[in-house]
Each structure stands twice: as structure tokens, then as C-alpha cells.
Amino acid sequence: MGKSNENIVLTEAVYYILLSLYEPLHGYGIMQNIEHLSNGRVKLAAGTLYGAISTLLDKNWIEALKEEKGSRKKEYVITATGKEAVKIEISRLKELLLNGEKITGGSCDE
């Protein structure tokens, strides 16, 4: 926490993975959710997702839930630290958007 976090730029994949985990979800569910959230624009590949999940677990931005008996689909959920990171990212994105619209004189609906 603290100043160092404010200069972190999340990748699009990580941002959407974190957003997908405000409720517990398993790997394949994350992929489908992201494709849905982005209207089909972001198709996260399995290898990339798995690597990102590994890193997010290491950073404690997400945690793995205890597996239900018989279910082999591990579920993940965002942690408080992860939510902080998302908040910071959203203010960063707002800043980018405001500046973009100001300078290009357009609105995001065009």
C-alpha cells in the first residue's frame, strides 16, 4: 500500500480478471465473463490466464477458495488488496479518459 501502488499500470487482462473476481469464479468462468464484459473484444487465452492467476495469487490480490469435495474447478476471489489495486486503476483510467476527451474534443459515444 502507499505511494508505490499509484504508479502501477495494470494490463487489460489483469484488470478484467480482478473485476471478474468480485464474486468467486473458476478459470473458465473468468474467460467467459471477460469475453462478455468486453462484448467479445477481449478473448483471454488459457495460458495467459493461468500465468496471471499465478502472479495475482503471489501478490495476494486474489485468493483461491477451498475446493468443494468432488469439484475439481478451483475458484478464486478478489482480496481487499486486490480491490485497492482496482480502485487505483479506475482513477488512472478516468484520468486517461478525461484528458483524451478534453484534447480530442470528442465524447466517448462518438
Binding site: T11, E12, A13, H26, G27, Y28, M31, V42, K43, L44, A45, A46, G47, T48, Y50, G51, A52, R72, K73, K74
Partner: protein, 184 residues
């Protein structure tokens, strides 16, 4: 009825290997079993499958690797088999594009994994064969033809071969890093 083909691909040519498997699929042959230099195919509808290879960080028997393979299977990917740490995967063409890595960072990470392996092999070869290679070179230089050391020649050849492989992967990594300046 199955057909067995013997073929060798270098680790740095895994994309070539993927292309070959995809071409076999277009010609109505699907890969069912894989071993060292040994590919077993069966007839299938033309273009039914797309193939991808990945070199894992850990042995396929470890928990981590098993977990990853299970994860891939949950996403509709079929696991065909492995040769050492290389896993062979296929997906139905009807499911759309088949990629394992959708951003540059994860592609680079995979290539670095392969590069590390090549370096380890090169180091092992240097440890084993440096002596012989130097003897070979000095013999050539001093024109001592009778003492030509075949082992030396072999190892020199291997060093060059691996050097080429490492260079090829290094170039791919460099190109991806350049691409990453603009995009993810």
C-alpha cells in the same frame, strides 16, 4: 487405422511443428499419440483440429502441471500427450481460434522458458565436450590431420546448432519486446 510418422523438430522450431500438425489435420489426419520423434495419426474429417504446443516449467507428473492441463481441458482443449516437458494440445476448429497466449508478456515468458532450457543444454555440452573441441581445433590449426578428433567435431557442430537455436528464439523475443512498446 493409424499411421505412424517419424520426424524430428528442434525445440526452437516448435511453431514449425504446430504448422505441420495443422497441415496434417487439413489433410484429414489427426494426431492421437506422440513420442520422441514419433507421431501417431488417425483419419479424421479434414481441418477438424488445430494444434498447439507448450513447454511447461515443470515435469508433466507434478501437481502444478497436472493442474494446468486440467485447467486447459476445462476450457475445451484436448491433451494428447507429452514429450519431456512439451505438451501437445488440440482444439476443435469449430470452437474458433486456438491460442494459448493472448498477450505479448505471456508469449515472451514461454519463449524465455525455452531459451533457458537451450542454455542449460549448451552448458552441459560445453562441460562435456570443450576439451575435445579445443583439441579438434588445435589439430586443424596445426594441420595434424592424423589426430582428427571426431568427438571434437561433433561437439563443435552441437555448439553451433544450439547457438543458432538460441539466436532464433532470442530474435523472436526481441521482436515481441519491440511490439510491446506499442501494445500489450
Amino acid at each position: 487405422m493409424s499411421k505412424v510418422i517419424h520426424k524430428w523438430f528442434w525445440a526452437w522450431d516448435f511453431e514449425k511443428e504446430e504448422k505441420w500438425l495443422n497441415t496434417m489435420s487439413e489433410n484429414g489426419m489427426k494426431l492421437c499419440k506422440v513420442g520422441l520423434c514419433r507421431y501417431t495419426f488417425e483419419k479424421c474429417k479434414a481441418g477438424d483440429y488445430l494444434y498447439k504446443l507448450e513447454m511447461l516449467d515443470n515435469d508433466v507428473t507434478t501437481d502444478k502441471s497436472k493442474e494446468y492441463i486440467e485447467f486447459l481441458e476445462d476450457t475445451g482443449v484436448e491433451y494428447i500427450g507429452n514429450v519431456l516437458k512439451w505438451i501437445y494440445l488440440r482444439k476443435n476448429t469449430s470452437d474458433g481460434e486456438f491460442e494459448l497466449f493472448s498477450n505479448i508478456d505471456s508469449q515472451i515468458a514461454h519463449l524465455i522458458r525455452i531459451m533457458k532450457l537451450l542454455f542449460i543444454v549448451l552448458c552441459a555440452e560445453v562441460l562435456i565436450g570443450l576439451d575435445d573441441s579445443i583439441t579438434f581445433i588445435t589439430n586443424i590449426a596445426t594441420q595434424n590431420i592424423e589426430l582428427i578428433n571426431m568427438f571434437g567435431l561433433l561437439f563443435l557442430f552441437l555448439y553451433i546448432l544450439l547457438g543458432i537455436g538460441i539466436y532464433k528464439i532470442g530474435t523472436k523475443i526481441k521482436d515481441l519486446k519491440n511490439k510491446r512498446v506499442l501494445q500489450e
